[in-house]
């Protein structure tokens, strides 16, 4: 029986191209909290992803790093448990609960055995609704954060990221590293931590997805338990900010054999009707692993770098085209020149029919491969909700990619790619690379 189904299945696969066939259910809990669910009962565990919009962008003025430190404290004691009791409980249940902070969100990623669903979600509920924020834990985690900040201060990659963020976004929260500075983190009080918690952890900004051995009824009940007691509203979200550094090349002196470069220019919103055209252009330029123009020109033809990539940044409050690479000091000037040339070529000539087709094949073919494992799918389902997509998005997304025409792509290339507005941030001691801006 099994074997017959398998054979039949294999035959059908040959006839049908791979599609993202996840069956997403929309679930609303008795208490009114919404989630996306994919039931997958073949392995007895559940991946549960909870995300709160806002994240580090909600830091109060002068309190950069408060939301980050608060997030690090959510697993350091809650209710009647201290850090140790919480950690021991997780181990006894073989449950993992990870709290991560991003520029625009806080995520709570958990994984638990079906048999331990109740006890595991009790732990998540306690950590979110009743964190202790003890002085002992604050000092300990503050020490970890400051240690991390000291390491970043001498890492050329991190320095490049910080220099770019400051030049591009100034006083907006995006302008400074989300962990804050040694000074700002040292000055944070327990009241600041509590304020950051009230700002960030609320029902008006929560997104939920579950994948695995769980039914809609079970999911509804556990969401009410985990999230039902949270306050309705958090802090207002920050304003939009344009990616707007002065164009040109800046060099930050740092004594290391290989320079690091970041580059960027204004981008495009994910809701823009031209987004999929831009997405394809970015794939051709530097977005598709080994098969991009920049990998070919900078690595394959000239051996100037181990890796170079470009990214479409579609954060909640800004959008940009960015990229990064590293190359030894004597060759950085040449590499910057190659990227500038490619940017100009894209703006002036666009892409070819062959490149368009190759990018479409890659993007449409690789999409179903992303639905790989319960935790990964849960993460994607939360992202889709936060981007405002509907549950049919995985089934229609490839059609949107395929609908882009060459004419459309090349119109967008001319409008979007702006070689005169491209800014490079180099950290290192590059030879013969003249900075044109500070």
């Amino acid at each position: 029986m099994t074997h017959m189904i398998r054979a039949l299945f294999a035959l059908l696969i040959l006839a049908v191209p791979a599609r993202a066939e996840v069956d997403i259910q929309e679930v609303t809990s008795p208490g009114g909290i919404e989630a996306w669910l994919v039931e997958e009962h073949s392995i007895p565990f559940v991946a549960l992803e909870i995300s709160f919009r806002g994240g580090a962008s909600l830091d109060d003025a002068g309190k950069r790093g408060a939301t980050n430190l608060m997030t690090g404290l959510l697993e350091e004691g809650s209710g009647d448990m201290d850090s140790r009791a919480f950690a021991e409980a997780k181990q006894e249940l073989a449950t993992s609960i990870g709290f991560d902070i991003y520029g625009d969100s806080i995520s709570v990623s958990s994984r638990f055995l079906t048999e331990n669903m109740d006890a595991s979600t009790d732990l998540i509920a306690a950590s979110l609704t009743d964190p202790t924020f003890s002085e002992e834990a604050i000092e300990r985690v503050r020490g970890q954060v400051i240690s991390h900040l000291r390491s970043r201060a001498t890492d050329p990659d991190d320095i490049a990221g910080d220099v770019m963020a400051a030049a591009a976004y100034g006083d907006h929260p995006y302008g400074r590293y989300l962990g804050g500075t040694v000074e700002s983190v040292t000055a944070l009080t327990r009241d600041d931590i509590v304020a950051a918690w009230r700002n960030a952890i609320a029902r008006d900004r929560v997104y939920v997805a579950a994948v695995g051995d769980v039914t809609p009824e079970q999911l509804g009940a556990l969401m009410d338990k985990v999230l039902g007691d949270l306050p309705e509203n958090g802090k207002d979200f920050p304003p939009e900010v344009a990616f707007d550094p002065e164009p040109g090349v800046s060099v930050t002196d740092f004594d290391t054999p290989q320079s690091v470069a970041r580059f960027g220019q204004p981008g495009m919103k994910i809701t823009d009707p031209d987004f999929f055209a831009a997405f394809i252009l970015n794939t051709v330029m530097g977005g598709s692993g080994f098969e991009s123009r920049l990998m070919d020109e900078v690595r394959e033809k000239r051996g100037l770098t181990y890796g170079i990539g470009t990214y479409m940044i579609d954060s909640d409050y800004t959008e940009a085209l960015m990229g990064s690479f590293s190359t030894v000091n004597p060759r950085m000037a040449e590499a910057v020149g190659v990227v500038q040339d490619e940017w100009r070529k894209m703006a002036e000539e666009g892409i070819t029919e062959e490149e368009l087709e190759a990018a479409k094949l890659y993007l449409t073919g690789s999409y179903p491969l992303r639905f790989d494992g319960n935790a990964r799918i849960a993460g994607m389902l939360v992202s889709m909700q936060m981007d405002g997509y509907s549950v049919d998005y995985p089934k229609t997304r490839n059609d949107k990619v395929n609908a882009v025409t060459l004419e459309e792509a090349n119109r967008v290339a001319a409008e979007l790619y702006d070689p005169d507005n491209l800014r490079f941030f180099v950290v290192g001691r590059p030879a013969e690379l003249e900075p044109t801006v500070n």
């Binding site: 040959l14 791979a18 565990f45 000291r150 390491s151 890492d155 000239r302 890796g307 890659y362 449409t364």
Partner: protein, 455 residues
């Protein structure tokens, strides 16, 4: 219509009981091992070819050649243009890459299950028919030198690790960096690459692992068709690297670098692997690592140094159980502000001494055991992870039986086993201790006057 049927069948398959990951294996006539892992949850396949050759199999003076060759395998063959593998995989919506380790080099693709045969065609072609030009060598050598700069030269922590491994392994090639020493990498040439290739890239030195939505009989038939005709390397000898002498003295070093923002102390011990000792011994070291340095709030080092004594911002341990020869057990401390590396190291040693005196907390031991058992459930969520598990094991001297037995071996470990293995592994003479410091901190932090320091 077809899509409707497809969806129905998918549902049926997904409710089949946990037979989801059945493992089938065979050996082709030319000596190539084949392992097939079924996972029918998504129409995707992972195709991997593992070679039993890595950095520790390099000839003396040619460090980095195994990894360099891995890069060069993406150049052309008699049937493929340079870069064709990447292009074809991308055009078919897949992703691909390769990696080199001390004991193995692996090439893999993830792609829609119906493209499996295409992957086999390409992977079989480049097993024997690689063509390299001088231009390929020159450009790609620049790329690996850039890679060394990114991974190692730009990172003081990586430089310290490189120095420590060279000191830890006095005779075995595990002491030579996988990426290569820069001065040797600069001289690697076409003949070096082709000599390594001809000897080791052969079906009788390879393991094929296919995991995903496939039928084992079909995979084996395809493997026979594409890999079966390949010529084995005659006279390939069993892998025997220079072995370590008995170490007689603890080794210490300090790496001072302007780019160090956060100093730390790290210690590496020589330790048995699953292949060199009994799997039981390696399993006990897995527990030792978890007990000493697992989660901050529950581990011995975390509890004492981070929570009780406030001497550390973090503590860590590490153990890689899969290695053909002896492997490394690592532990270390990132000290709190104002705490010297000597104080941090002394506190770490005091906790190890205390573990031997007081024994192991049985409750904590049970928690770790529970978690390790649950990992088997979670592992079934990733066909890629399972494929890696088999590929790595079969190229580090383990058998399929060893892989299948490993979960039970882990569950049979007792606290007494852990203490016994700790006594064997945690010997000062078997260790290298490294300090990573910034110049301004060096005078007060350098141990025992054996390094020259400013002032």
């Amino acid at each position: 219509m077809k899509r409707l049927i497809f969806a129905c069948i998918l549902t049926l398959v997904s409710v089949l009981p946990a037979a989801a990951q059945e493992v089938t294996d065979t050996v082709l006539d030319n000596g190539m091992d084949v392992v097939v892992i079924e996972d029918h949850r998504a129409p995707v396949v992972v195709h991997m070819v593992w070679y039993r050759a890595g950095g520790a199999d390099e000839p003396a003076g040619k460090s980095g050649i195994a990894h360099f060759l891995e890069h060069l395998l993406f150049k052309g063959t008699d049937d493929m243009e340079p870069g064709e593998v990447h292009r074809v995989v991308a055009e078919n919506g897949g992703s691909n890459n390769a990696f080199t380790s001390y004991d193995q080099t692996a090439y893999f693709e993830r792609i829609a299950a119906d493209r499996l045969e295409l992957m086999m065609t390409m992977e079989a072609d480049r097993m024997r028919d690689l063509i390299l030009t001088e231009e390929d060598i020159k450009t790609e050598r620049d790329v690996i030198l850039e890679e060394r700069a990114t991974r190692t030269d730009n990172s003081p922590g990586a430089l310290l690790n490189e120095q420590m491994q060279a000191a830890l392994f006095m005779n075995h090639p595990y002491g030579t960096p996988l990426i290569g020493w820069r001065h040797e990498m600069e001289t690697l040439n076409r003949e070096d690459a082709m000599a390594f290739y001809r000897k080791y890239y052969a079906p009788n030195n390879a393991v094929l692992v296919v995991a995903g939505d496939v039928d084992p009989d079909e995979v084996i038939a395809l493997a026979k068709k594409h890999y079966g005709p390949l010529e084995p390397t005659e006279g390939l000898e069993p892998r025997a690297r220079p072995l370590e002498p008995v170490p007689l003295a603890p080794r210490r070093m300090t790496l001072t670098d302007d780019r160090v923002g956060q100093p730390y102390v790290i210690r590496n011990y020589i330790a048995p692997s699953r292949a060199t000792g009994a799997q039981e011994e390696a399993a006990a070291i897995v527990y030792l690592s978890e007990l000493l340095g697992g989660s901050s709030a529950t581990s011995i080092l975390g509890r004492a140094l981070e929570f009780d004594q406030k001497l550390a911002v973090s503590t860590f341990t590490g153990y890689s159980a899969e290695a053909l020869d002896l492997t490394t057990f690592t532990m270390g401390v990132v000290p709190a502000q104002g705490v010297t590396l000597e104080e941090a190291e002394a506190a770490m040693d005091a906790e190890i001494a205390r573990m031997f005196e007081e024994g192991i907390d049985p409750e904590q031991f049970e928690r770790i055991k529970t978690r390790i058992r649950a990992n088997d459930v979670y592992a079934r969520d990733s066909a890629r992870g399972l494929a890696n598990r088999y590929g790595r094991a079969l190229t580090t001297g383990l058998t399929l039986e060893d892989v299948k037995a490993w979960p039970d071996v882990l569950q049979a470990v007792t606290p007494e086993d852990v203490l016994a293995v700790a006594e064997k592994v945690l010997q000062p003479t078997h260790s290298v201790t490294g300090y990573l410091v910034a110049p301004s901190l060096a005078p007060s932090l350098t141990p025992g006057g054996e390094e020259e320091v400013g002032q």
